[in-house]
Amino acid sequence: MTIVRRLPTTVLSIFLTAIVVAQMAFTARPAAAQLQIDITRGNVDPLPIAIGDLTGATPDTVQVGRDIAGVVAANLERSGLFRAIERSAFIEDPIGITLRPRFGDWRLINAQALVTGAASRESDGRLRVEFRLWDTFAEQQMTGLVYAANIENWRRISHLISDAIYKRLTGEDGYFDTRIVYISETGAADRRIKRLALMDQDGSGHRFLTDGKDLVLTPRFSPTRQEITYLSYFGDRPRVYIYNIDTGQQEILGDFPGMTFAPRFSPDGNRVIMTLAADGNSDIYTMDIRTRRVEQLTRNPAIDTSPSFAPDGTRITFNSDRSGTQQIYVMNADGSDPKRISFGDGRYATPVWSPRGDLIAFTKFRQGRFHIGIMRPDGSGERLLTESFLDEAPTWAPNGRVIMFFRQQPRSDDGSGGEVSLWSVDLTGFNQRRVVTPLDGSDPAWSPLFSESR
């Protein structure tokens, strides 16, 4: 009888244990686990950054330190990715290069990053500029660099600092230490004076490279040297020239029977790809700058023009009306296997391959309006970034993130209007900005990073 009595007790206790165990498993597991949350969106507001004046010991270094901070702030702000916090909001005074900032003071004004630094004179009289970039929340230095240069070059130092900050905070190369070559225009529509002009990407250091006696068109930077190729009507013959910025020398690339236009450098800078029109047909050619050897890439009765190399040099995108309307094509670097990639409604022109290779920028004309747009090299993912009466001639910043182009206002019957100006737009379609030039400007071309082109 005791056995009979015990058995149910055992069963009962096992059963109860099972309940308890099950319940422990039920409650204990979640408590031990980590809470996992996916964050799939955030804000795209510009990053608030505080750029303190660089300190200096002498009046001239104090001045240059303040100027550098100003140029850096303007550069970063122009990119649309940063918001430079007003100096008047700063709680902590400039601290120079040797101290750690009081991070709490900077967090209070919402600065997520902070730049501190100092300018001084080296023993040989050269300017020495040091800066540090701080993460105010992690309370860590993110980067710190020293530059030494003649004091007249303080602007370039500012651009280099801007690039270093941009790269550290975005992970992408900057584009501030660059220049823009463009066609400066002035005068009435029928007697337009066009000059080749060069300036820093922020508009400073502006100068004219040609005197305006001869018509100049389509300037393009060499990706490897401080050289520009462009089309000039010198002697009333349109020919492709190369201009060396450092020496001011110009040379004719070649004397061809017909008309050459739309020149552009190959990625290695050793060849120029261009259109040659002869006997009523336009085809694409390359020419080796040193050997002057010419190679014909397209042989099509249609108009093939506006060629542009992929950054790896293996493919070429160009514009052709072989299908009946202007469309964008991609072919191998030897001219084989041309494929049409643009299939949207409207006409496409001036394709330009991005320096980072993932996109092609173009001009699109549709329903009476012009657009600057981008698509992948296989033609997918077309996106229009701008729209206006006339937007044309996109050119990429060397980091493939910003596009510059020119825009023309409609011309009215009384002859007014028709102004052309330079604009830039971010790859995302945001941050459209006018690039200020002394006169009208068209046909811009962005240089590679200065520091990488020598």
């Binding site: 009595r5 039920f26 408590a31 996992q36 799939t40 750690r100 709490g104 500029v129 992970g171």
Partner: protein, 309 residues
């Protein structure tokens, strides 16, 4: 005594039998309850996002709260004295970036070189920011009721059959949880019908949709997404941190997958995610009773929703 045991045994056998036979039918019931709950998840999600004022108020604005700066400043350690003459090599807080990549250009060109690291930071213990206490946000009374517990009328009567449901259900629930990658979903299931006190205790410490959503919403407001880059769509960053009961950080957040930090873009993005956590803590509106559910958090940052193109 014997009678009691006999009754108990009989009762439990009945319970077991009920479990055996009753389970399939009851499961269907449970499943039917789950369906509307999933739909609800979306509704609450959007509703919560549509209320930006929740976080707006919390932004520390020096102008709005003038008295705050002083105490905070006082709390922070004063900056270290200028470094002594370079006798001993100070341990760098972070190694300065190698700039060897920038070649020294010819004569008048600026010449970059690495800066010596600054004086060592004050002892390793970092000062966790103690930002101004935010204005308390009124509890969002509009969200919670949506999880609508069924009236407890039935719960009053103890139903043996229900216990077995509970037992089996709990096994069902815990198994997928252990290995599921779909992190948020598993916590988002609101408590099913609260039939018994046991049930209530079991689900009591899970976070509800709105609670998880509140955390997500706060972090999203603070995250400055690195957009426009080539591989932004494949970007996945994991940040781990533990919280004190008041929602502030126990220690600096940790970037997981550190081996990828060599990639400049990943590093910039990972640091932006870490900044989002630093910027957003202390987290607000966390249910204190469920502290052990949210004290350890791993956030997976992926801006895929924003980069449709």
């Amino acid at each position: 005594m014997r009678a009691a045991i006999t009754i108990s045994v009989a009762f439990h056998f009945a319970l077991a039998a009920a479990a055996w036979t009753g389970v399939p039918v009851l499961f269907r019931d449970v499943l039917r309850e789950d369906t509307p709950i999933i739909v609800e998840l979306v509704a609450i999600d959007e509703e919560t996002r549509a209320a930006p004022q929740v976080v707006k108020k919390e932004e520390p604005d020096p102008e709005d709260e003038p008295p705050k700066p002083e105490p905070v400043k006082a709390a922070l350690a004063p900056p270290p004295p200028p470094p002594p003459a370079p006798v001993a090599e100070p341990t760098p807080p972070a190694p300065p970036e190698k700039v060897a990549a920038l070649p020294p250009p010819p004569k008048p060109e600026p010449k970059p070189e690495a800066v010596e690291p600054p004086p060592p930071p004050p002892p390793e213990t970092r000062i966790i920011p103690d930002p101004p206490t935010p204005k308390p946000v009124p509890p969002r009374t509009d969200v919670r009721p949506r999880t609508k517990p069924t009236p407890p009328s039935k719960a009053a009567t103890f139903d043996a059959g229900r216990i077995s449901v509970l037992i089996d259900k709990s096994r069902k629930e815990t198994t997928p949880e252990a290995d599921s990658e779909e992190a948020p979903k598993k916590f988002l299931q609101p408590p099913p019908v609260q039939q018994s006190p046991v049930r209530q205790a079991a689900v009591g410490n899970r976070l509800t949709i709105s609670e998880v959503d509140a955390i997500r919403f706060q972090i999203e407001q603070c995250w400055n997404v690195p957009a426009g880059s080539r591989d932004a769509r494949d970007l996945v960053i994991r940040i781990q941190f533990s919280l004190k009961p008041d929602g502030s950080l126990k220690a600096p957040p940790v970037i997981l997958d550190r081996e990828r930090m060599g990639d400049g873009f990943y590093r910039a993005a990972a640091e932006s995610a870490r900044r989002a956590v630093l910027l957003c803590t202390p987290l607000k509106n966390l249910p204190t009773a469920k502290y052990d559910r949210w004290q350890e958090i791993t956030l997976t940052f992926n801006p895929r929703d924003m980069l449709g193109g």
